[in-house]
Amino acid sequence: MAPVLETRSLDKRFGGIVAANAISLAIEKGARHALIGPNGAGKTTFVNLLTGLLRPSGGEILLDGAPITWLAPHQRVKLGIARTFQINQLFADLTPIETLGLAISERHGSGRDWWRIVGTRRGVTEEISELLERFGLVDVMAERTAVLPYGKQRLLEIALAFACRPRVLLLDEPAAGVPEAERHEILATIAALPADVTVLLIEHDMDIVFSFADRISVLVNGELFVEGAPDEVARDPRVRAVYLGEAFDG
């Protein structure tokens, strides 16, 4: 199958520091792909390159075979790449209804509409409602995001990316900082994402990675170290040495 998202020898240098070194990664359509690696391996840099927050020093990014290397972030969203952030990037003064309505209006191309009232276009409220239910946000839908419990904010973070109806969804440590008790809700939500959405998961937590991913890439010092199916990666002695040692032997 052809990859939906692909990088070809993607480089990023900050001064003398190499954050991404000739990364060539292909993500298959519909994949549950995980990107793992120790702290400072360059995982978030890689996501920032894919979404356009950073410009690469070299190499190419292709979506369905077409280069998107130099497109602005909002243009990539329109083409179907959406992301969540490791640290919540939400709209503190907006409610979940408004937040989702915003993203949906943008996707429908009515974001510049200055005359109609938000949500009076057909289909928008219907879609807001669906998202509120899917992500368990109905109870808090009319509250300011700033006052929501952290777990709900985390769900909104994913819901907002999902509202862009991406073909490729990049999840940057979706459960980061969420207390154990609220964790399962987020994991269940991620597991229930539609199969036709390709997911790239950046994660620290090995339990999450191995329960979710059907393909794993290991990033070390800005380089793609190993890639394979979960059991291959788990068996690979180099990976165990570099990264999984504690998690598996301990």
């Binding site: 990037q89 907006l94 915003l102 005359w115 949500g119 009076t120 409220t125 109905v138 907002l160």
Partner: protein, 351 residues
């Protein structure tokens, strides 16, 4: 299955109701405008002063559009006010466009054009850069008006302006009755337009950009395009305010372009509160009342108290003080945040 389908529809209804409620014209707002318009009959001797207040209110509203909704701070908004004023003055003086409302529109376009051209300077950078850039633009405009005195009248102001009757029917009178009604109607129309705009998807995207530009781009918003649009709109609004002043006074002067005017409008908006549209009008009223009251009290030093008030507002927090001194602000804020009805479903049919 059937149940699930039903509850989904109920949720949709709640969502729709919530979204409509946030844009609804509340009872306090209706009262506000009824009171405002009744001043036409109730306060006939104060029309000249009220005209000035209305113009300040509209000017502050224009600033609220960029500061309160898009988070762009400006210390040079008088540039657009002044351009609007001179445009209206010149159009009337040289009899290019005689009918005042058409001239008003033309002046707005002139100011909006300047806003559009300079909007690209405020897209990037911190608040400090924006303050300096907007200040710089207004200083350039001021000195240009000063330099080309043949056209603008320089330090003497634009003399010899005669404003034709509105629609050829309503002549501007020396008591300012016509002028006041004219300004109030223009304010009301532009306020309602602004209200419509801030409750639209476009307005929501502005609030999102103000709150988090990074995430705004990550949900597909073309941030720069939106900022250019609202800056241009705001400049047009400021231009209308300036044109109204020029038309009601049949005069335009350098003070309409001055740094002091830019600072005053910022002060008025901060006093009234940003981001709920009424702040500019409320601020203009408070400013005017304080000015009257304090100058009776201390004649020349009334700005001492204004300064003190400003410091208090910024230090203690605008929300709290704004709420004490202006019930309108509190009510409006409450209306804006009114929660959606929490009933889960309508009357159950055939349970």
């Amino acid at each position: 299955m059937r149940r699930a389908l039903q509850s989904e529809t109920a949720l949709e209804t709640r969502t729709t109701r919530y979204l409509r409620a946030r844009a609804r014209f509340g009872p306090i707002e209706i009262l506000f405008w009824v009171v405002a318009f009744s001043s036409i009959w109730l306060l006939p001797t104060r029309h000249l002063i009220l005209t000035e207040t209305v113009i300040w209110g509209l000017f502050a509203l224009s600033l609220d559009l960029i500061l309160g909704y898009a988070g762009i701070i400006s210390l040079g908004h008088a540039a657009f006010f002044g351009v609007g004023a001179y445009a209206a003055g010149l159009l009337a003086k040289y009899e290019l466009i005689n009918e005042p409302t058409v001239a008003l529109l033309a002046s707005a376009l002139a100011a909006a054009a300047l806003g559009f051209a300079t909007s690209f300077l405020v897209l990037r950078g911190s608040d400090l850069t924006r303050l300096m850039v907007t200040l710089g633009v207004s200083l350039v405009c001021f000195e240009l008006a000063n330099r080309y005195g043949d056209l603008t009248g320089g330090a003497d102001g634009l003399q010899g302006v005669t404003i034709a009757p509105i629609f050829g029917l309503y002549r501007f009178d020396m008591f300012g009755h016509t002028g006041y009604i004219y300004c109030l109607v223009v304010l009301f129309i532009l306020f309602e337009l602004a209200r419509r705009i801030v409750n639209s998807p476009f307005g929501l995207s502005l609030k999102a950009i103000k709150g988090n530009p990074l995430r705004s781009a990550a949900v597909g918003i073309a941030v720069n395009g939106r900022l250019v649009a609202v800056y241009t709109l705001s400049a047009g609004y400021a231009g209308v305010a300036g044109a109204l002043l020029a038309q009601t006074q049949a005069f335009a002067s350098l003070s309409m372009l001055s740094l002091e005017r830019s600072a005053d409008v910022l002060l008025i908006l901060i006093i009234g509160g940003t981001g709920y549209l009424y702040g500019g009008i409320v601020g203009a009223l408070i400013y005017r009342l304080l000015q009257d009251y304090l100058s009776d009290l201390t004649a020349r030093y009334w700005q001492f108290w204004i300064g003190l008030l400003l410091v208090a507002i910024v230090v203690i927090g605008r929300d709290r003080i704004g709420n004490w001194i202006s019930p309108v602000a509190r009510f409006a804020a409450q209306l804006g945040r009114r929660p959606a009805p929490t009933t889960t479903a309508g009357p159950e049919k055939g349970g």
